[in-house]
Symmetry: C2
Subunit: 317 residues, 2 copies
């Protein structure tokens, strides 16, 4: 099969490679569209190796058609969206059955591939972990990103007040169009001062760099979840201030979870989020669709900060 | 009435003062025994002022008899244990009705006064907040202290493996007698190395100083709760390591909560913990009983690290 290979010069090239061999409980999916994630950039740069035993090929989400159901009771020809530990930038990928989702009704392969990672990540953190409720205020860092554009919509649906950070007026306008209430340009304004003691929930992607500001922004009983480390790993925590606020800081990742845990999250996401996709409450945000052979260009766009929402790669283009 | 007064030299003296005037929803309790807490030492030293509107007198827990039920439906003469925002080191204290508990069956006033703070603190953090479960491993720092001696017993009752730190062989022996499985002398051993990646829960009282070690000791999905800041307020957090473990850090305090929140915790503690006191599953740990006029000596004992369990002050001695 054809798949994206990371060269020694850390560029992405389409090459011929072996089709994956199924393990027990996996199905072989013919990929139609793969989603691009920031983690793919890290992996391509050599900083984010796949979990032990998982595909070395990039790609954490896709949509396609079951080619071989293996030992599962699935049917060949079934259309599926897939949460992957790796392997999406390819013609075929092996997927544990628990990580298969139906294509949301009315969704194309591209649209489905664009929501898998963001839906599971946002729901597992904002919904399952922190239990965001109506009337609460949530700060979403990087509101115009793939995660951010989805998180804004989910939080508004719950009935929360949504504050976002983004790096330009255009990106903030995109956040506003999705429902964001408080718009903060992180290049010009101090989010922590503006939101001091106001945030019941924070969805953080900066890690160390924003730790002091996030703790300052937390409200009494507030809960921050860090899912990205774009601002580094080691930071100062004023645990005295956290105690005065009775606050909580969690940090999570989806990819490193075991298959049972992923299956639990996938099932809960389909149950709680798929209906909101199907009735249009939450919309997919595809910024660009490129052929798989242009994977390098897709990465360059993300690196340059040009993207609002998601980029996806067409395999059968 | 007589009450303990903190002099300008920061010593404790029994003096004459005004009996509290009841606000709506409060009862007047004639204190028989007051519990001593480490927070009282902080307050006496001028570092831990009471929440706005609460008594300036020391004392966060007591047991006694309702003298005046005020506007509540309670009866004068009823024996009660009380969670206080302050005021326990005195002959009388005003108590919001939601902070009244029954005296556990078979318990003396002294025994009841010795369990209020530790029971509510341990249950609200280990039980209500982190949901400790059978089979999990919990690290309890300061296992021989007031909080620690109670927490060990509660965790063993749940079916957890219990690791403790303490500062001497004698104190570790006391922890062992209460059920602790893994005994670590913090003056001689590195708890984080011994327990690396092993702790599903950590009950922490050191704050900043133990932050790196606690994160190292956390297991995947682990949850640390800091309730004390004996090792300072600002520390380094490796949020990258926390993310790799999908860990959570909470920090909480009981005293600063509003009355509704305290009432919620008190009710849940009586429901879940009182039966365990009454059937002997969890035992009170009174290290010493002193007259109220000896409050200074009680504080000196705690300061010197001489105490295993709790010290209580007899008002009617
Ligand atoms: N732990 C997990 O399970 C998990 C799962 C999925 C994603 N993630 C992580 O979540 C993050 C977002 O993912 P994504 O797919 O949404 O990536 P993305 O689309 O590339 O978005 C990156 C975002 O970072 C924002 N950003 C950069 N510097 C910032 C700053 N100083 N302050 C605030 N925002 C800043 C960008 O804002 P502008 O474009 O406006 O400058 C952009 O919105 C990434 O770090 C990713 O690795 C984690
Ligand atoms: N946030 C809340 O709601 C809340 C409520 C109650 C208590 N607390 C806090 O919880 C802590 C314990 O309260 P307590 O009533 O149990 O006080 P305590 O009886 O005076 O106990 C203090 C404990 O600290 C231990 N300790 C001192 N240095 C240590 C170190 N380097 N490593 C590990 N342990 C160390 C002592 O161990 P050794 O005696 O063995 O040296 C002792 O067990 C205090 O900080 C208190 O303020 C908080």
């Amino acid at each position: 099969m054809k798949a994206i290979h990371v060269t020694d010069e850390r560029t992405l090239e389409l090459q011929e490679t072996d089709t994956p061999i199924l393990k027990d409980g996996e199905v072989l999916v013919r990929v139609r569209v793969a989603g691009v994630n920031r983690a793919d950039l890290l992996q391509a740069a050599g900083h984010y190796p796949p979990p032990a035993g998982e595909s070395e090929i990039l790609g954490l989400e896709c949509a396609g058609v079951i080619e071989d159901p293996g030992t599962t009771g699935r049917k060949a020809g079934e259309k599926v969206a897939c949460l992957l530990a790796g392997g999406g930038y390819a013609e075929f990928v092996a997927v544990p059955e628990g990580q298969l989702m139906p294509i949301p009704e009315g969704y194309s392969f591209a649209e489905a591939a664009a929501v898998v990672e963001v839906a599971t990540t946002v729901w597992s953190n904002i919904g399952m972990l922190t239990g965001l409720e109506a009337g609460q205020t949530i700060l979403i860092h990087g509101g115009a990103g793939g995660i951010g554009t989805f998180a804004i919509q989910m939080a508004k649906h719950v009935g929360a007040t949504v504050a976002v950070t983004a790096g330009s007026a255009e990106k903030l306008a995109a956040c506003k169009a999705l429902g964001a209430d408080i718009l903060i340009n992180y290049r010009e304004e101090d989010f922590a001062e503006i939101l001091k003691n106001k945030c019941d929930r924070i969805l953080d992607i900066m890690g160390a760099k924003y730790l002091p500001g996030n703790v300052k922004a937390l409200a009494t009983g507030g809960h921050q979840v860090t899912i990205g480390l774009q601002g580094g790993v080691k930071g100062e925590l004023n645990i005295g201030l956290l105690l005065a606020k009775r606050g909580t800081i969690s940090a999570t990742a989806l990819r490193s979870r075991d298959r049972a845990d992923k299956a639990r999250i996938v099932a809960s996401t389909v149950e709680n989020i798929w209906p909101l996709l199907e009735d249009g409450t939450i919309t997919h945000q595809i910024h660009a669709t490129l052929p798989l052979s242009d994977a390098q260009r897709a990465h360059d766009m993300l690196k340059a900060g040009e993207v609002t929402g998601k980029v996806v790669l067409l395999i059968d283009a």
